[in-house]
């Protein structure tokens, strides 16, 4: 069933990570992605990986789900790892024709693989513990200063809210249209690529027509409910930073200092 696809894999819970302010989580994710790619030596890389993994543990989401989130990109990790293996300068340890592996190449490959895995894990902590609505809210508020530069932040957030709201509705509709077309003898599963793509046309056209109709209705509904853009709009749910949030931010700042010091003092791995 097409409607089995889950989007925004949020797992409701009440762990520390769930209770953290979504803005803090969003900033931390960006912060960690930055750190993980700036780690130049083993000590900082290990420390960053460990602190990032503490987020995974604190989220109390089953480890199985984190492994599942890595599954689709195993290939990418392996591919970039292997590619980096052959991309080092220095004394070759092993060589075959034009291919050669150096010590730097091995280090590079391991580092890039670790970085990618951690990148996926920390983004998963964010999406697993934050509902799509909270996430949109956080993005709107974090990016708010950009509105001064005439970036339509509110409009983007509103579009995301509506998109998230309508994804399940449209998936359900696609399912219905597919069944209806199959009932009329449409063959969606056989033939070559070209034929299969052609078979999608009778599904996409009704889907688009209905999406436009929905958009008109929705516009009427929004206008009827006094929507007139972001100006003068208030929110029911306001975000407040709690003690835990300030604590986490302080720890992040302290860690940043440590990170900079270690990077400056210790020799780089390569």
């Amino acid at each position: 069933m097409i409607s089995d696809i889950t989007l925004g894999q949020f797992f409701p819970g009440s762990s520390v990570m769930h209770r953290l302010d979504p803005r803090v989580k969003l900033c931390m994710t960006v912060y960690y992605i930055g750190l993980i790619f700036c780690s130049r030596n083993w000590i900082t890389l290990a420390l960053t990986v460990l602190t990032a993994l503490s987020g995974v543990v604190l989220s109390k989401v089953p480890a199985k789900l984190y492994l599942k989130s890595l599954k689709p990109i195993w290939f990418l990790i392996a591919f970039t790892g292997i590619l980096n293996l052959f991309y080092g300068s220095g004394e070759p340890i092993w060589s075959f024709g034009f291919l050669s592996i150096t010590r730097a190449g091995i280090i590079n490959a391991v580092m890039i693989a670790v970085r990618l895995v951690v990148l996926i894990l920390i983004s998963s902590v964010l999406t697993f513990t934050t509902s799509p609505t909270q996430l949109t809210d956080a993005i709107e508020r974090v990016l708010k200063p950009l509105a001064l530069l005439h970036v339509p932040v509110h409009e983007f957030a509103m579009m995301m809210t509506i998109a998230l709201r309508f994804v399940p509705t449209l998936l359900e509709e696609t399912d219905k249209i597919m069944s209806a077309q199959k009932a009329r003898g449409a063959d969606l599963e056989s033939g070559g690529l070209a034929q299969r793509i052609r078979a999608l046309i009778p599904i996409l056209i009704p889907l688009f027509v209905s999406a436009f109709r929905r958009a008109f209705d929705l516009a009427t509904a929004m206008e009827s409910r006094c929507y007139h853009g972001g100006a003068g709009r208030t929110r029911m749910k306001t975000l407040h930073l709690g003690r835990v949030d300030y604590g986490v931010l302080a720890l992040c700042a302290a860690y940043l200092v440590l990170f900079v010091l270690l990077t400056a003092l210790l020799p780089a791995a390569i």
């Binding site: 609505t133 929905r214 009827s224 409910r225 929507y227 208030t234 929110r235 749910k237």
Partner: protein, 289 residues
């Protein structure tokens, strides 16, 4: 209820409307007054202009000529459109297409948020509105997991959270199953009775129109007939000539009378019909009713 007080809440004055030049006029010289607290049903078959009237009532459409006044405010004036829309809310036919947010309570909060109501006040209004339509228990659900009737009730809550004084419902039950239809109609009736909210119900279900205080029948962009449900539905032949139905109970009584049974009055509901038929039967058999 049929006679409106001196200053009606909504006035349609000599209203004409056309979407564009080619398609011609959709509504011709409509006069209609709706009093505060009234429950009006607007009847007519497809294409008679009733949905157009719905959009004219809250200023989504502007009359080509004539005026629509809501609480004394002209809907054609651009600057006061928000004032019109916070007084007259609109609930549309398709339950899927009018909910904006991915969580029920956030959707209900959408209207008051647009009006700039303070956060705590929105919270209170949302809770009250959800309780008023009996959807409070579902406040944290996703709209796509609800039934059609539940979605329409959430849509109604979204309108009353703006503290609107009038709700226009444009065929709100057309896409619902019988249970959803009953849920929505009971909710609408209760809001009218308990909170004094003015209701304009646009429908083609005669059995729903029976529950209104006043019925307005439209055909080809004109008002054909207007009055209390019993007065209107008594004119079975006139309505049939205009390809309109009457409630099932009324229809049955009409046919029995045509077949020679002595059925009195115009029964509108099943109960009334049963009583009328029993009275007729009892009179024939000579038993006391």
């Amino acid at each position: 209820m049929a006679d409106a007080p001196a200053t009606p809440f909504i006035t349609l004055n000599d209203l004409c409307f056309s979407y564009d030049e080619e398609s011609g006029e959709v509504l011709h010289n409509i006069h209609l007054d709706i009093a505060a607290g009234e429950f009006v049903a607007l009847l007519g078959h497809n294409g008679c202009g009733k949905s157009t009237v719905a959009k004219l009532l809250n200023g989504m459409l502007i009359p080509t000529s004539g005026k629509v006044l809501v609480d004394g405010i002209d809907t054609a004036v651009e600057e006061t459109q928000l004032d019109v829309r916070r007084r007259v809310g609109l609930v549309q036919q398709n339950p899927d297409n009018q909910l904006v947010a991915g969580i029920v309570e956030e959707d209900v909060a959408f209207g008051p948020e647009n009006l700039g109501v303070p956060s705590e006040e929105i919270r209170r209004r949302v809770d009250d509105a959800l309780k008023a339509v009996g959807m409070y228990a579902y406040r944290e659900h996703a709209p796509h997991k609800l039934s059609g009737g539940q979605k329409q009730r959430v849509a109604i809550a979204g309108v009353i959270a703006m503290e609107t004084r009038c709700i226009v419902l444009d065929e709100p039950t057309a896409m619902l199953d019988p249970r959803g239809r009953a849920e929505v109609m009971d909710t609408v009736e209760r809001l009218n009775r308990e909170q004094g909210i003015t209701i304009v119900l646009i429908t083609h279900y005669m059995d729903e129109a029976v529950r209104a205080g006043r019925v307005v029948v439209m055909d080809q962009g004109k008002i054909l007939l207007e009055g209390a449900p019993r007065e209107v539905f008594a004119q079975v032949e006139f309505l049939k000539r205009h390809h309109l139905d009457v409630p099932q109970a009324t229809e049955l009584a009409y046919r029995l009378r045509a077949a020679g049974c002595d059925i009195s009055g115009t029964p509108l509901t099943e109960d009334e019909c049963v009583r009328a038929v029993y009275a007729c039967y009892a009179a024939q058999k000579g038993v006391g009713a």
